[in-house]
């Protein structure tokens, strides 16, 4: 499994960077040139999966949270906070790489367009989630409150999809609207992109399982210490 992931992602990286970019793709292995971006468009293969994964991670965290609320199994809370922690990292990376991309494509590091704003709000939500966790000492309470908060946050996030277009429409129309490559991805690009997405998801899942296993052992050893002390 891990071997497959290693080979897969290496191939994705090589292809994503090396496949030639020509204005009129003739062969199956060529990318079309995207107007205004040129070679920099290759960022799409790495930046977008990171961003998508940070959203998925949040949903995963919420799902584990809901499981906790139903069964009160501390392992579910462990998974919920681990998923969120990793999601936070991915979100931070996505925001930073997005900002760099924006700088090179449109001139400024931050534009407050819908995508940038939503990834930023996700960052805030992750931050709030961990602020909440660190403020509650009782384990069961911490678990239920984080689960509830992630539910509320997940429920209000979709509203952004509806709010942002109206906000933009009423502002002086911003010419620097972020049009990501969704519209014009040709078949080759799409294949490489989806493979990258799959690879990143595998990577996320792998890191997630390692972290969960480590934290399980940590909590076991804490409990063992407690029992030894009492014995």
């Amino acid at each position: 499994m891990r071997l497959t992931l290693g080979i897969w992602m290496t191939a994705v990286v090589v292809l994503a960077i090396l496949l030639p970019m020509v204005p009129q793709p003739q062969h199956w292995y060529e990318f079309p040139v995207v107007g205004g971006l040129g070679e920099k468009a290759r960022i799409i293969f790495f930046h977008v999966p990171t961003a998508w994964l940070s959203f998925l991670a949040f949903v995963a965290s919420m799902v584990y949270g809901i499981k906790y609320l139903r069964k009160r199994n501390p392992d579910d809370d462990l998974k919920s906070s681990t998923a969120a922690g990793l999601g936070f990292l991915f979100c931070f990376l996505a925001t930073v790489t997005g900002s760099i991309w924006a700088k090179f494509s449109w001139g400024s590091f931050w534009n407050w367009d819908p995508r940038e704003t939503s990834i930023f709000v996700l960052l805030l939500i992750y931050g709030a989630y961990f602020a909440l966790r660190s403020a509650v000492e009782v384990e069961e309470k911490r678990a239920s409150l984080s689960a509830v908060y992630s539910i509320i946050a997940a429920v209000t996030m979709p509203f952004f999809m509806f709010v942002m277009p109206r906000v933009l429409a009423s502002l002086h129309p911003d010419p620097i609207i972020n049009t990501q490559g969704k519209v014009y991805m040709n078949a080759t690009m799409l294949v490489v992109f989806l493979s990258s997405l799959a690879g990143f998801t595998g990577l996320y899942y792998w890191i997630f399982t390692i972290q969960v296993r480590i934290r399980r052992m940590e909590s076991l050893s804490i409990h063992h210490e407690g029992e030894l002390k009492r014995a």
């Binding site: 709000v121 209000t156 509203f159």
Partner: protein, 231 residues
């Protein structure tokens, strides 16, 4: 207070009783009211002072109005559930009323508080800040009323969450901001429309967003409230 039972009349009586309890205690101690008042007066004074004799663009003023309201609400509503913990009445409340009744009762009370806050802030703003003009009053009225209910809905459930945390005061705005952000953006937008003199119909989008936000937040809050409130 009547013992817990399943009939809806008892539920309404619980809601009413909780509302009256908070209302009477607030009139006696005036904790929240003074916090709100002080905050609004201080913030508007600072704004006036920094503006001097100049006036800012109407768009900026619309945004600032809701900044003032947001932070005032944060300072005034944070103690909604904390007061129960501090007075030791939280156990009694859990025994004698259903979770949903407690939430709705407090929600109603907070709505009254927020609406009062809104009216006061808008009045002061209109009187003291030059450049703030509302051309379509009907839009503005609906925005303020719906926005107030939305604020109260989100603020109440977050207040319930932080009641068990340790760093309550600072945690409250941190948790509330991402949740309230879609609401804040929408009301600012709506205020801008009203300020520009748009037709009532043009704000339908905003009204729809506000109404759905309110419905969703209240529905989810009622569902999760017991997990937050009960030990």
């Amino acid at each position: 207070m009547p013992a817990r039972d399943a009939t809806s009349i008892a539920w309404f009586r619980s809601v009413g009783a909780i509302f009256m309890k908070d209302w009477r205690s607030e009139l006696r101690t005036r904790y929240a009211i003074s916090a709100l008042l002080m905050f609004v007066v201080t913030t508007i004074s600072i704004i006036l002072f920094s503006l001097g004799s100049e006036s800012a663009r109407p768009e900026v003023l619309c945004g600032m109005l809701w900044v003032v309201i947001f932070f005032s609400a944060m300072s005034g509503l944070s103690r909604t559930f904390v007061m129960e913990e501090e007075r030791g009445t939280s156990m009694t409340l859990q025994l004698t009323a259903r979770g949903s009744a407690v939430y709705v009762g407090k929600l109603l009370f907070n709505t009254v508080l927020v609406t009062g806050l809104d009216v006061l802030t808008v009045a002061l703003y209109a009187l003291l800040i030059n450049g703030f003009v509302i051309k379509t009053f009907s839009i503005f009225l609906v925005i303020v009323l719906l926005g107030g209910l939305g604020f109260a809905a989100a603020a109440t459930i977050i207040a319930a969450i932080i009641a068990r945390a340790s760093t309550k005061g600072t945690l409250y705005p941190v948790l509330s901001f991402p949740i309230l952000l879609p609401l804040v953006l929408t009301v600012i937008n709506g205020t801008r429309l009203a300020s520009d003199g748009a037709f009532f119909e043009e704000a339908y989008g905003e009204f729809q967003i506000l109404i759905s936000y309110i419905v969703v937040v209240i529905a989810v809050s009622v569902l999760v409230f017991d997990y937050v409130w009960k030990d």
